[in-house]
């Protein structure tokens, strides 16, 4: 894990220094003078040699103190804490709901494979996937919130009691966005399993269809499902930038995108490290779950 992290930080550092040359000119403002630019370069630590800057970066990771944003001068750790809470509340519920619902519906559809219902599910999912997220947001915000008044148009309440009313419509949109892909992938995974020999054997032994699906197929289908879930984990942290900006939810997605647009390197560095650590953690978790689900897999 540590070598991975080292590699990621090195790549981020190199890429930023190659692709984005001098931020000091920009931060000096529209009335910059050559002298001011030099002062700012020193303030930002850019007058040090590249290896020195990289070592400083590593120190920041170890102490989890990423300093202040170049663009806003806010403490990055505070920015991340503030954004984390909002983003996780936004992304986790629809993510989990989509997994459970999609898995259930995929099982049901493959149970009735070839039927009108199954074909209908495939068509609807393809349609859902073809529509851009922006269209969902614009349409559902306009109809459900603005015209019908079922939800607030936008807003955020940082208190634990107050935030839920602002999250319901974003949850619905995220859920719908995730459904299409999830159902189709899970359905194909389950169908793959359904044609395996052990299923035929189980049926021949007289196991009921219901038990075949829940006790046999589901367990085997879980491995690719877990893999897909783990791959989707970074989404939980980066959130959905569009949803955050349309609904006024102050999450990490917006923060990350603004940092990229403004070449705010300290924030980009911090977010890269956090997402990498999270991703590695979830991979590890996935490995543990694999071993629980499939007795053939042993953790080494």
């Amino acid at each position: 894990m540590i070598p991975n992290l080292f590699g990621i930080t090195l790549i981020t550092f190199i890429l930023f220094n190659i692709l984005v040359s001098d931020p000091a000119t920009r931060f000096a403002g529209k009335y910059a003078t050559a002298e001011r630019v030099e002062t700012i370069r020193a303030e930002l630590g850019l007058d040090r040699s590249l290896p020195e800057q990289y070592l400083f970066y590593l120190k920041q990771i170890v102490t989890l103190d990423f300093g202040r944003s170049w663009a806003t001068k806010q403490k990055i750790t505070t920015m991340i804490n503030d954004g984390f809470s909002a983003t996780l509340c936004l992304t986790i519920p629809p993510f989990i709901a989509s997994i459970i619902f999609s898995l259930g519906l995929a099982m049901f559809a493959s149970y009735h494979r070839g039927s009108f219902f199954d074909k209908g599910v495939v068509v609807v999912c393809l349609a859902l996937m073809s529509i851009s997220s922006l269209v969902y947001i614009l349409f559902l915000q306009n109809v459900l919130a603005f015209q019908w008044g079922l939800f607030p148009v936008s807003g955020w309440d940082p208190s634990w009691a107050g935030r839920w009313e602002y999250l319901v419509l974003p949850w619905i949109i995220l859920f719908v966005l995730l459904l299409g892909t999830d159902i189709l992938v899970y359905r194909s995974v389950i169908l793959d399993e359904a044609y395996q020999d052990y299923v035929r054997t189980a049926r021949a032994k007289g196991v009921s269809n219901w038990a075949v699906y829940t006790k046999h197929i589901l367990k085997n289908a879980l491995i690719p499902v877990i893999t897909m879930v783990v791959i989707g984990m970074p989404f939980l942290i980066t959130g959905s930038f569009l949803i955050e900006s349309f609904f006024g939810i102050p999450g990490l997605g917006g923060m990350m995108l603004k940092a990229l647009n403004e070449s705010d390197f300290p924030v980009i560095k911090a977010m890269t490290v956090i997402i990498s650590i999270a991703y590695m953690f979830f991979n590890l978790l996935a490995d543990i779950v694999y071993s629980l689900v499939d007795p053939r897999i042993r953790l080494s």
């Binding site: 931020p23 920009r26 000096a28 403002g29 806010q74 306009n142 079922l150 403004e262 070449s263």
Partner: protein, 607 residues
Amino acid sequence: MRMMCSKVHRILQRMMVTKGLALSIAASLVVFSLTSGCTKKVDDTDTTINIPLRANVKGLDPMHANDMYSSMVIQNIYEGLLEYHYLKRPYELKPALAEAMPTISADGLTYTFKIRKGVLFHDNPAFPDGKGREVTAEDFIYSWKRLADPRNASEGFWIFDGKIKGLNEWADAIKNKTGNFEDPIEGLQALDKYTLVIKLTQPYYQLQYVLAMPFAVVVPKEAVEKYGGEFINNPVGTGPFMLEKSSDWVRNSKITLKRNPNWRGETYPTEGEPGDKEAGLLEDAGKPLEIAEKLVFIELTEDQPRWQNFMKGNLEWVEIPNDNFDAAVKDDKLVPELAAKGMKLQVSNAIEVVYNAFNMRDPLLGKNKDLRRAFSLAMNIPLRIQRFYNGRAIPAQGPIPPGLDGYDPNFKNPWVQFDREKAKEYLAKAGFPEGKGLPEFTFETLADSKSRQITEFEVQNWAAIGIKVKISTNTWPQFQEKIKNGQAQLFGLAWGADYPDAQNFLQLFYSKNVSPGPNDSGYQNPEYDKLYEAALKLPPGKERTELYKKMRDILVEDMPWMFSLHRLNYRLTQGWLRNFKYNEMTYNIYKYVRVDPKKRAELKPKL
């Protein structure tokens, strides 16, 4: 038998699933409509003003007030010596924390200000007993030193850079570690507790304007020392509004300012411009200002939710987004459906110029005036205004926008009048008939969809006479970098006034301001420079305006820019908003504005 059971089982399962689904959807809709969607009763005593912000506030430290949105909040918390008159146009200054306008010496180099007595900083734990103390002349010196201190890298130092006696030397001493912050500066002296004297190195007729900018407001030393780097989140000013506790600022969402109970007070202006009285803007003339209980800034970066929140009465005013313009305004008047809801339309002209710049260092573009003229004549500005600005702009004839000295509404720049045939003529004169032999140019633009669409339109205009232009899209930092490094061949930008003096626009062509300064086209002309330097030494008046016009003529002739347009801002206000007149130069208008809470309680539920 078993088959029958399994079939029945299947049917039952299906029925249960469908029933379950239907029930849960119905239940959810009921729950949601009960909890969130209902019309809440509107409090008819609530004086809160809700304002939209189109981008996120970065921080509330005045020395970093470099972006518009942070400045919008800062100028309601902090005050400076001078401010703009709320209603008068052309824009005029008046005293704020100064007792009166300054006395100026005959040579124009010494300004003496008397500070108002009894002005208090906001109550804050930074002060002993938490009580805000009185503002003195020393506080202004302290605040301005912060701008000059190189360790702060303030984006606002330019307002005093090189202009105040001893200030640059003081800053250099700090940089070289040979001096201290507390060292005195010859050009900034407090003669007594309430008298401040500024001594200049040369005449600086824009000084009073910069003193009205957010950079120049007064801050208390105690708060800066107590909060250090967190002063950006713990503002302590003297203004009519204050950030009572830090949790009132929900980052990237909302800032709630509360009324400052210790504010010095002011009366509503008694004069304005023609039309103000008819618009009801002088109803409160002479009355003491009633400050709203709360001033809430709501950050919404997207047009749709901003517009929808306004339509639901959650915002007191909104700029009309392009997509909603035709539904809101017809023949330059508000549509009857919105007027019936009590809404009003307000139009103001932005003190700015939108332009396309030539890189004058480019060996081809910089040397070939006829080629530049061909570019400019080929551009159909009226169509561009129609298509991309809903007609809400005036074609620009030069760099000086309407409302400023030096702007002449009757002046017509011959090179911006769309004429394709003439453009082809000049292209041939430039040595490239029908574009033969002309290399492909690159136009740098931003990556957002509106910028790209406008650029594509422009490229088509040029292609129609044979000039080939390639579009290069950039993020803002990349864009700035290319411009500052002189790598952008052609680019489009806008310049908004820092203060209402044409010098702020004319300085963009002064040779000493080339990159990293604001002269982005890299234009250098000694004749222009002479006129510019001469104008700097003159007070506002006929003589100076003549010089401004001469400079404009040189720029029209040399054409380092293709002047495009000056935008008009169309805003809608709610029927319950009183005294609202948008001021393009300042954001500290919310002490004058008030909400009629009974009217809001009456009109809002009907929206």
